[in-house]
């Protein structure tokens, strides 16, 4: 029963949701709307599970003083501190002067922005070390990347006598080889997703239930 009921539910809900594309009836749409609302509520509930899971995974590391336990303490303090600030602030937590807003503006924003900003430095270093014309494929990629980079910024596009050709080449690279490759990947991934979806609906794929 523990396995059969979820499989039957998955089959019924999956079939109803697929049916939405083929049955343009108001009543049917209302039913799928309701199901989607349930889905959003369940997804929101998963947040609580996430918090519980985070504590379950990290608390033993702190208790047993395992390597790098101090970082787990920082994480737990941030988790609890932000939660408390959010609850105290209530509906006005995003107003200026509220603790939650302060934490967001003066802790999260600089940390988040710093992490992303480091990318520019690592890309420069990686491009210098790894972008070598070692063979034909690497040379094609290198030339294409350099051309697109140069044409994507104003200084490249405005080189007298060359800029307009650079932009035309960049547009061609983006619209033809890039699109062809991207579409191939998208279509391949979509076919894979359809196959997996069918396997889940038909009960052939059971890993989401846990166990085998």
């Amino acid at each position: 029963m523990k396995r059969t009921l979820p499989l039957v539910l998955t089959f019924i809900v999956g079939l109803i949701m697929v049916g939405e594309f083929f049955i343009p009836h108001h009543g049917y749409r209302e039913m799928t709307k309701e199901l989607l609302e349930w889905g959003v509520i369940i997804a929101a509930g998963a947040f609580l599970l996430g918090v519980v899971n985070l504590i379950q995974v990290n608390w033993p590391v702190i208790r047993e003083r395992r390597p790098e336990w101090i970082y787990k303490v920082a994480m737990m303090v941030a988790l609890v501190g932000t939660l408390i600030a959010g609850f105290i602030g209530g509906e006005s937590r995003l107003d200026q002067g509220q603790g939650f807003k302060w934490l967001f503006d003066y802790m999260f924003v600089p940390l988040n922005a710093t992490m992303f900003s480091l990318l520019a430095f690592f890309i420069a270093s990686a491009a210098f070390r790894a972008f070598r014309a070692r063979n034909t494929e690497a040379t094609v990629m290198l030339v294409a990347a350099a051309l697109v980079m140069l044409a994507a910024v104003p200084v490249g596009a405005s080189i007298p006598g060359v800029g307009e050709y650079l932009v035309a080449i960049k547009n061609w690279i983006m619209s033809v080889p890039n699109n062809a490759a991207r579409r191939a990947i998208f279509i391949g991934a979509a076919l894979g997703a359809i196959a997996t979806g069918l396997r889940v609906i038909l009960g052939l794929e059971r890993t989401h239930l846990g166990g085998d």
């Binding site: 989607l36 889905g39 509906e91 972008f131 910024v153 490249g156 405005s158 890039n178 998208f186």
Partner: protein, 284 residues
């Protein structure tokens, strides 16, 4: 000479970092003007928004965080100015939990600068969890996806929502997207199903992915990264920004100029050194 080239190829990466730091900081400290052209997808985006009429209502999905702020906030601001200048009603929601503290103050500031009434002309519905499921739900019913707005009002009772429920009831869907969930999930989940008029502003790294959607007509306009934002600013603020507003992406185009040139220079110099040392049979 060969030794120097070998050493150059394996130089401490902190020198590379230092060069990049100069490339970013110098244009910020000593700004100079640079001209640029407007790309086809950005012009199409501008024309789509410009074709909206007073009283039309758009749904903006503001899905970005502080990390992508320099790329997307300039577009987000210019877009809100553009919409309010045309007296278009704006309903906004987000699928990113980190977005509300970032996007709401800007939304409030710009709406108030145009004297817009909350609930009548604009509304912020807050954050909803569910990722692709939430997008699917927005396609079916915005009211059910966001039962309450950020001020605790029932979404269905807001005057701006009169006669509007599913995504297809809106005149346009605007996705300001820094990744997943965002533009791609909107296109895959609901754009085709409901034949939505949808435009997107995305990070530069996502633009090569989304250009396929623009070429296919699934997106009717696309702005990629800071260059896209700067181009859009140049169209919206052709006569200069309104009082209290300022250009955000345009002055930073020189940072991109110098940063990109620096990377290209590194690649060229690295390859020259590589070919010379390889021809001489020296291992780098």
């Amino acid at each position: 000479m060969l030794k120097a080239l070998v050493r150059f190829q394996s130089m401490d990466r902190r020198w590379v970092f230092l060069g990049m730091a100069f490339s970013i900081v110098i244009p910020m400290l000593m700004p100079w003007s640079c001209s640029f052209q407007v790309d086809r997808p950005v012009r199409a985006l501008y024309e789509q928004v410009d074709a909206l009429e007073a009283g039309d209502t758009v749904f903006v999905s503001a899905d970005f965080d502080p990390a992508s702020r320099p790329e997307l906030e300039p577009f987000y601001r210019a877009n809100l100015h553009h919409l309010f200048q045309k007296d278009v009603n704006v309903v906004m929601g987000t699928l990113w939990p980190t977005a509300p503290p970032l996007v709401l103050p800007i939304f409030e500031e710009i709406a108030e600068s145009y004297g817009k009434e909350y609930g009548e002309d604009w509304a912020f519905l807050g954050y909803t969890e569910g990722r692709e499921l939430a997008i699917k739900s927005i396609g079916a019913s915005v009211r059910k996806s966001f039962p309450k707005d950020s001020r605790g009002n029932n979404t269905a009772e807001l005057p701006i929502m009169a006669g509007l429920d599913g995504a297809s009831d809106f005149d346009m869907i605007i996705s300001v997207s820094a990744g997943f969930p965002g533009t791609q999930a909107y296109v895959l989940q609901i754009q085709g199903q409901y034949n939505l008029n949808m435009i997107s502003a995305c990070t530069a790294v996502s633009a090569p992915d989304y250009i396929a959607y623009f070429d296919a007509g699934q997106l009717t306009g696309l702005s990629g990264g800071m260059p896209g934002s700067a181009q859009y600013e140049s169209l919206v603020f052709a006569d200069g920004p309104p009082e209290g507003a300022r250009l955000m992406a345009t002055p930073n185009m020189n940072v991109l100029n110098l940063g990109h040139l620096y990377i290209i220079l590194l690649i060229i110099m690295g390859n020259i050194a590589y070919f010379i040392t390889r021809a001489a049979g020296v291992e780098s």
